[in-house]
Amino acid sequence: MLRVHNLRKTFGSVVALDHVSISFPSRGCFAVIGPNGSGKTTLLNVLTGFVRADAGRCTYRNINLNRLLPHKIARKGIARTFQEVRLVRHVSCLDNLLLARRAELGKTVFRAIFSFTAENERAGKFEASTLLHSVGLGEKASELAGELSYGEQKLLSLLCVQIARPEVALFDEPFSGLHPMMIAIVEEQLKKLSDGGCLVGFIEHDMGAVSRLADHVIVMSNGKVLAEGATGPTLSRSDVLEAYIG
């Protein structure tokens, strides 16, 4: 399914990814952990086409992702969030969701202008507001995304991935800076995505969330994969503990 082979990426003299090869699980939930600067975000950026690898290959369903532009990778069903919250801040929460909705996904210019019907818009708004209600943001549907609290914005960016109904969903630190109550909601949503058959991957420092959610963990250190495997045994390995805790 999703594989990276011998991936290398440098930023000047910094080696962010050093011959990384990973076969990701085909379903379920995996976490990528590692100290700051270990190459986790670069790996996510390369997988989604936002950063070009210097060498190596990323493949999904035997399609070479290295040759695709980021929007084309997204069209293959690989959705993502960013470490810093990225939303269209001056439009409503509802419109943010409609932009990311599967029916809109990768809409060509022609279709975006001409195949636009009132029923389609109604169906989209219904789907989006149902999703917002399911996480308690129903009342804020028409509020500007930029006016939500940080936690709510993070949750909204997660919903944007959910409404795209991806095959692979990658999240960059979905729990960072969140209140424990919001962490529980985010966890529930990630679990829902994973239970629906989507491969969920997330970068995280919160080991509690990693242990509760992920059934597979990839540990990175200095641009290399230090360890990989089932969450429990991998997290208790001495080299992993050393790399993480020091």
Binding site: T48, F50, L69, P70, H71, K72, A74, R75, A79, R80, F82, R86, L87, V88, R89, H90, V91, D95, L98, L99, A100, E104, L105, G106, K107, T108, V109, R111, A112, I113, F116, C160, A164
Partner: protein, 289 residues
């Protein structure tokens, strides 16, 4: 009455221009200083199309709009690499080059002498030579431009443009080809500006390069910003205000020389006051930072 109809025609022509630029600035966040160039393409397409004076208005207007859309590729294709202020510089260069071409390709454009005796518009055999007919046709075209842009703004296309305005990475991550949307928005705005140009040429029956200088592009941008780029009626309100304000100075009984300066002072003071008091424009909600 003739004077009032003349003002209506001017407001309608400038509204078409500002509505087209409103799509770029207000929706896609693309600040263009080349709108007068596309205005010129439309006007010169009418002025130089002398093959048959009875050529239908719709034919020449479509020709101008198509040529304008094609020429807009020169601005839109580099927009993938040049964003923000750099995009403004690309449009600025395009504007300067267009003006120089109109001025210097005298064999084709008659250079600084301009093109005279442009025939009036001919719509289905009806020759529109009077001020009333021109006011009507320019208002009809401005209304059409308004509805075309409104349709785009309320469609998924508009939604994608707004996401491009704020964060291209969001648009990309949601699987939209940002470049294609930009190219299309710039081409549509160029075509609508060319329609305004065609109406202008038919109405004034004379065009010369000075009408299409950078100052004209800045004027249209000021209309959009003052009215409120993202709002529906903002660009129209901005056009009406900046067409009527200089006209109002006429009635102050000043000498011609003083009137020109007073107009400039009014214009500058208005923009400065708005930037301080209402950076989002008179009717806008979205403020550019």
């Amino acid at each position: 009455m003739t004077y009032l109809l003349h003002l209506v025609t001017l407001i309608a022509i400038y509204s078409t221009l500002s509505i087209s630029l409103g799509l770029l600035v207000g929706q896609a966040g693309l600040f263009s200083l080349a709108q007068a160039s596309f205005f010129a393409v439309g006007a010169y397409a009418v002025a130089l199309n002398r093959a048959d004076t009875a050529t239908l208005f719709w034919t020449t207007i479509s020709l101008g709009a198509t040529l304008s859309a094609l020429s807009s590729l020169l601005v839109s294709l580099p927009s993938g690499k040049f964003r923000g202020d750099y995009f403004v510089l690309v449009t600025f260069s395009f504007q300067i080059i267009t003006f120089d071409l109109l001025n210097n390709l005298s064999d084709y454009t008659k250079g600084s002498l301009g093109v005279t005796n442009i025939p009036p518009a001919n719509i289905f055999g009806w020759t529109i030579s009077g001020v009333l007919g021109n006011a009507l046709i320019s208002v009809v075209l401005a209304v059409m431009a308004f509805f075309v842009v409104q349709r785009l703004v309320t469609s998924p296309f508009g939604r994608v443009l707004r996401s491009i305005r704020e964060d291209e990475m969001v648009a990309t991550a949601t699987a939209h080809n940002v470049m294609a949307f930009k190219i299309c928005a710039i081409a549509i705005a160029a075509s609508l500006s060319a329609v305004a140009g065609a109406t202008y040429a038919h109405y004034f029956t004379y065009v010369d390069p000075t009408t299409f200088k950078i100052s004209q592009s800045i004027l249209v941008l000021a209309m959009v910003i003052i009215g409120g780029a993202e709002s529906r009626i903002g660009p129209i309100a901005g056009a009406a205000l900046l067409v009527l304000l200089p006209e109002a100075v006429r009635f102050l009984g000043l000498s011609d020389a003083a009137a020109g300066h007073i107009q400039q002072i009014f214009y500058g003071a208005l923009i400065a006051a708005l930037m301080i008091l209402r950076p989002q424009g008179l009717f806008g909600r979205y403020g550019f930072s």
